[in-house]
Structures are given as C-alpha cells and as structure tokens.
Symmetry: C2
Subunit: 199 residues, 2 copies
C-alpha cells in the first residue's frame, strides 16, 4: 500500500476510535513508524487529512451500498445487511468522532449532511421500488411518503434529546426501527423473508 493510503487508513481508524481532536498528525506518524515530515509532505495540515479521510469514506460507502444491493438475493436481505453494518459501525465508531466533526469542521459536516439527504432519499426510493417489484413490499405504498418517513425516522437516532446515548442502546433502537419499518411495508411474502432472516 502507498504511504498516502496507509496514512488515510490509520488516521481514519484512530479518528473512529478516539475522535478527531484527540488524534495528532504526530500520533499517526508514530503509529505508522514514519516521520511527521512525511505526513506533512502529503497532507498540508490535519484539516486536509480529515477532509481526505471523509471523502474516501464516502466513496467506499457509496460503492459498498451498490455492491450490497447488487449482490443480495432481494431487497430485504440488502436492508438487513445495511442494518448489520450499521450496528457494527455504531460499535466501532466512538460517538465523539461525529461530535468533533460537527464542532471542529462545521463546513465539512454541513457538506456531508446535505449530500446525505439526497443520497439517502435516492437509496430509499430505489430500495422501495425494487421491493415492490420483487413482491416483497406492498403495491399500494406511497413511495415518496414512505421514503421520507424512513429517512426522518433514521435521523431520530442521531438526535440526542430523543434517544440519549446514556439511556438507550442505539444498536437496539436502530434494529427496532429497521425491523418494524420493513415489516410495516411488507407483503406476507416479505414478512416471511424477514422472519427467516431475523430468526
């Protein structure tokens, strides 16, 4: 792997683990056994590094999403893969990471947020339409309303006044959301498949 990629990988790992504020360029250099100067030759400052990590993450994420959709038996399987990945991410990523991103890099945060609105809306519509075509979701769904409801329900997770992290297990809330939501829009065939996946 090239040095640049190794730096991005290590930085992302450490940002996830400790948050952004707590990780210095020096920490990353030391972990990789390279000089701080090498890091600064590639990224002019931490801000540039953070920016790069986030955009690489986005590219990976988008690729992953389409791979899952393509490789799944059906749309419900895809949704449950996303759910499991989401639960895993919640366990791996320290919530401080998002807090730091929002506080220390507000412009980047807003950019991500506004890109995500569009992306998530497109993905929901895509999945809902596919599910209807596969006979797993009900024909009579109002795709636009349902996809909005889904998107905004998901947003509740990151709303600390609704589900404060010290009182709720976010992974559990997330699973409740996904499973109930998917059941709610499913045909009997869809529900059967959900039950076979959730045991």
């Amino acid at each position: 792997m090239e040095v640049r990629d190794r730096i991005i990988e290590e930085a992302t790992k450490q940002f996830f683990q400790y948050g952004i504020r707590n990780v210095t360029m020096d920490d990353i250099a030391v972990s990789l056994g390279i000089s701080k100067r090498t890091v600064y030759e590639i990224f002019k400052d931490k801000s540039e590094l953070v920016d790069t990590c986030i955009s690489e993450l986005n590219v990976k994420q988008d690729k992953k999403v389409q791979e899952v959709v393509t490789n799944s038996v059906n749309v419900i399987e895809a949704i449950f893969v996303f759910m499991r990945e989401g639960v895993k991410a919640m366990k791996v990523i320290n919530p401080v990471f998002f807090k730091d991103l929002e506080k220390l890099y507000p412009r980047l945060w807003k950019k991500i947020e506004s890109e995500n609105v569009g992306k998530r809306h497109d993905l929901s519509s895509q999945l809902l339409k596919k599910g209807v075509a596969e006979g797993l979701f009900r024909q009579d769904l109002n795709i636009e309303i349902v996809s909005k409801l889904f998107y905004h329900q998901m947003n509740l997770l990151s709303n600390d006044s609704v589900f404060p992290r010290d009182k709720y297990d976010h992974a559990e809330v997330f699973q409740n959301m996904i499973i109930n939501f998917a059941r709610g829009i499913s045909t009997p065939k869809g529900i059967q498949f959900i039950e076979s996946v959730t045991g």
Copy 2:
C-alpha cells in the same frame, strides 16, 4: 345549554374555521345573537376565552380517547378510530388555528405541548401493552422504544419543513404512518384485522 357553554362551543368552532386572530369577541356575540357585554361578563378578555376553549377541548379529548379504548373490539380498532378522527380533524381545523395558538399564545402553546408529550407517551404505552395482551402486536416488541418512535413519527406531521402543507396531503401522510406503523408491530392475526378494517 348555558350561555357560557354556547360561547365556548361557538368560539371553538370559529377558531377552528378561521384561526384565532381572525375571530373577535364581537363576531362570537353576533353569531350567537347575544350582546358583546354578555360575553365580557363571562370571559374578561379573548385570552381567557381561548384558554377556556383549549382546556375544555382537552378534557373532551381525554374523555373521548378513553371511551374509544374501552368501547373498541380491540386495540387496532381503537387506533383506526383515532386515525379517522384525526383525518376528520385535519379537514375541519384550519392550520392557521395552530399557527395562531403558537404565535399569539406561546405560554398556552408550550403548556399544551408539554402536557401532550406525557399524555401521548402514556397512551402509546397503554395501547401497545393492550395490543400485545390481545395477541395483535408481537410479544417481542420493546414497548418503550416503539412508543417513542411512534410519538416522534407523529410529530413529523406538524413539522412544516418535513411535510410542507402545500406539497403533501397531511391526511394521506397520517394514514400512511398509522397503517405502516401498525402493520410493522403486528402479528399475523393483527395484520389480518388491519386488512379487514382498511379494506
């Protein structure tokens, strides 16, 4: 009916129809064919009248809710009665009524809002537990999480940036929410009942 009750009834009707700002004490007196003085002898000002109308509405509403729960065959029937009543209310009550209440009577508005949080949460828990006992909702529901999700999903309806009134038929969004949500938490027996009710 006593004059006091007739004033409250007429005022509530007109507030619903035209909003609060647009209705004067004089309008109400004229509609009832009584003198303005009579109105002012009972309610010292419009603010007191609005306050009284709201608290009478609340008392009626709470009574109605418990009547529906008691008189329904099961909890799903009760939920669909609430849904139909809600849709009816949306058609009868001019959205300006809520806007006026929020803008012109902010203290009253906040009081209602905070009372509603508790009430709606209690009602959701009550209905969910009853539904589980009736074998209509799944045994494995996390009542607390589900009732929070329901409550906050309902709140999206009054969030104008999520479902702007000029772009969405609120009655349709509301029905989508209720039906999908109820299906999502139901057993096969529950879904069968929902289908018998929604046709």
